[in-house]
Amino acid sequence: MKDILSLFFAYAKSGLKSRFQYRLDAIVATLAVFLREAGGIIAMYLALLKFDTINDWNIDELLFLFSLIFITYGIFIVFFMALRDFPDWIRHGDFDRVMLRPRGLLTQLVLCGADWLAALGHGTLGIVLFVISANRVGIQWNFAMAVYYVVAVISGVLIQGAVFLFFSAISFYVVETGRLKGIFYWNMRKFAIYPLSIYNKIIQSILIFVMPFAFVNYFPAQFFLRKPDMAAYPEWMMYISPVVGVTLYLLAYSFWLFSLRFYKSTGN
């Protein structure tokens, strides 16, 4: 463990050092990520000035829902950045180098890929939203609640990590997976930001069963907020995020292990 940590810090140090060669650019890029993600929220805020609520969710409750997506994504990007951009790693031959080093493949990918500045952009937004909303939505914070929150965040990171681990394994067969990710992850994420109940049944099912973003933010948020639209779903769905996260991750991991032998390297 100590060994892994020291490797993590060695990677982090060199990653930050190289990023800060272009200091101004790094700051602008972080700010840009922050604003890009905040854009949809600002629009929602402006709309709710006129409409007050959406399916009975007021702006504070929405911000609490949003915060889960951004906090989990901020952490996700620290650990799973390399898997998110895995086709590039294959295309540029960087994965060859990973295979030539005496460490676990995922250990290296997870530890060294971190994009700290983007993580800062997303994470800060998530934390700002959480701080603004957490007190105003009337949650009575206690130890159990705090534990639930931490577990929910970890589960959310794992669910998204599993999705990208799965896409990365597909890259061993076909390198170009950008469009698949575009449709299945990025588009679905746009849906997932808002309360699940505003969509029709097909989209809801996709967000629960296919690309289970509902377990990243909607159901965990419902645990705290208990909005009336939860009546449409069984109550236990608020408690199974960790199960979904761990199961998906293990499935994706086995698929990754199985697919490794089909790695073709570049230039062939």
Binding site: D3, S6, L7, A10, Y11, K13, S14, K17, S18, R19, Q21, H92, G93, D94, D96, R97, M99, L100, R101, P102, R103, G104, Q108, R261, F262, Y263, K264, S265, G267, N268
Partner: protein
Amino acid sequence: MTEKIIEVNSLCKTFKIHKRATGFKGAVKDIFHPAYERKKAVDNVTFSINEGEMVGFIGPNGAGKSTTVKMLSGILYPDSGDIKVAGYIPYKQRKEYVANIGVVFGQKSQISWDLSPLDSYEVIRHIYRIPPKKYKENLERYTELLDMGSFINQPVRQLSLGQRMRADIAAALLHSPRIVFFDEPTIGIDVVGKDKIRKFIKTLNQTDNITMIFTTHDMQDIEKTCERLIIIDDGKKLYDGSLENVKKGYRSSRIIEAEFESLPVSLTLPHAVISNADNNELKKLISFNTDEVSVNELMTALMNTHNIKDLSIREPEIDAIIRDIYEGRIVMN
């Protein structure tokens, strides 16, 4: 005492090449019924290498040499055949195995563009868990041998290609590997820079008894460093033996390049192999061995039967020898 450190037996690797269909119909069909073409990248290759040997791997582009090296270094799974390197099966025991090897890719640096070599070495030290004492010793030694003192603290983007390559070679050696693979380590570097690198590699091979595999296009690399040569073409091993032998075997070989006045008919000459050159039908290459037939004899036979416009006899350059071997004009045993 030398023992076999690399053993390869009947190694095969086939790639499926996706044939992209055209048009919209094709694109849709492509998704459900993709068409593939099979290409044997490595076809039943067998060889072994002793500890401390320095072997040049050559072959034209797409010959299968880099696929072979990638299987040797544990990056690719073979389809069939056995590989054993330093007592490990690379693709099965990757993590334990790769601690014993170093790989230098001329086209793909392992040190970060925006950092100094020293910063990158620091990360490598953690990855390989190099003990501090050994790290310090190696770092000092290679900084001196590769003459890196002046630039080891500068961002890599400010270095010349030759300096960068030297820094990359040091990076592959810091963990004291037993085997080092060099993949085109001198590509794009000027003559002086190339020479520095070759000398270093040669010295290291002799003093440290490190086994080295060298793939390259540059025959000078091989001539200046290797004693043994493995030639691969179209996935098959064409030659495996000493470099000296290739040159010696060729010492009595000559090629006449002849341009005829008119299209030569029924051109047959004793003890000579005739082939086409440069897509010019009037030009022919006549290969022969002076032990079997003298230049004089052959020229007379040629002059008597045909009108020659231009004619030259080629020197046995190593580049040409290799090219002749690829193109089947010379058959090595």
